[in-house]
């Protein structure tokens, strides 16, 4: 059975395994943004991928792996001029993304946290979580 967002391109995914710190979590971002620039993506698209990936990595490090330095985050990705696929997996117990309150509702608008998933969904073409909730697949189609 295929996993959410899995396509034939998953066989071409590059893999980076990083230690569970926010500093180390920047490394996949640097690599992916460099490939985006080489593939001719716009500054606007690069901003959106940087934002979505930072949110996914922060969630993996802080919430998934609970800042445990013995754990790792696995990032698999593929950048083509047509689309970008990024899969981020942590070693945590996962969560139910549908249980995260809508941060745009009036009763939640003043909460300082809880906007990461919403931003990922806003800036990517497709976002899907594994059943366990410890892996997110993000796809951005180049529409420019």
């Amino acid at each position: 059975m295929s996993r959410p967002g899995e396509t034939d391109e998953t066989t071409q995914l590059k893999e980076l395994i990083v230690e569970n710190t926010l500093a180390a979590a920047k490394r996949p971002e640097e690599v992916i943004l460099r490939e985006m620039q080489a593939a001719g993506y716009s500054e606007e698209d690069i901003f959106g991928i940087k934002l979505a990936l930072e949110e996914a990595m922060t969630n993996a490090v802080r919430h998934g792996n609970r800042n445990d330095p013995t754990k790792q985050v696995v990032v698999r990705f593929n950048v083509t001029p047509r689309k970008i696929t990024i899969i981020v997996r942590d070693e945590g117990f996962g969560f139910q993304p549908n249980h995260v309150p809508d941060p745009t509702l009036p009763e939640n608008i003043e909460r300082p946290s809880g906007r990461g998933i919403m931003l990922m969904r806003a800036y990517m073409t497709h976002v899907a979580y594994s059943d366990r909730g410890n892996e997110v697949v993000m796809v951005k189609v180049n529409e420019s």
Partner: protein, 95 residues
């Protein structure tokens, strides 16, 4: 400039100072994520508790789009320049 994690660090002490209002000039800010938004919200809430008006000024288009996407333009007044923010009536400083 990537200051998301430092926004609250800057705003928190300022919100308690005896200033008339807090105006965050954003034109040099190139990136913001949910952590940075959380810092702005926390700074805004501290300012409101101290009855200080709080406003954002001149964010770049990409930053403004993040504020709009998250509906935070309903929470923060956003002005095109500092003069406009200073001249604005005090409607956001009270609970």
């Amino acid at each position: 400039m990537d200051v998301s994690g430092r926004i609250l660090e800057c705003l928190a002490p300022l919100a308690a100072e005896p200033v008339e209002r807090i105006v965050v000039e954003m034109s040099e800010l190139e990136f913001i994520d949910s952590t940075g938004l959380g810092g702005l919200i926390a700074g805004y809430l501290k300012a409101r508790r101290n009855r200080r008006p709080f406003a954002l000024v001149n964010p770049r288009r990409a930053i403004y789009e993040v504020l709009e996407t998250t509906r935070l333009t309903r929470l923060f007044p956003v002005y095109p320049d500092v003069q406009a923010a200073i001249a604005a009536p005090d409607t956001h400083g009270a609970d």
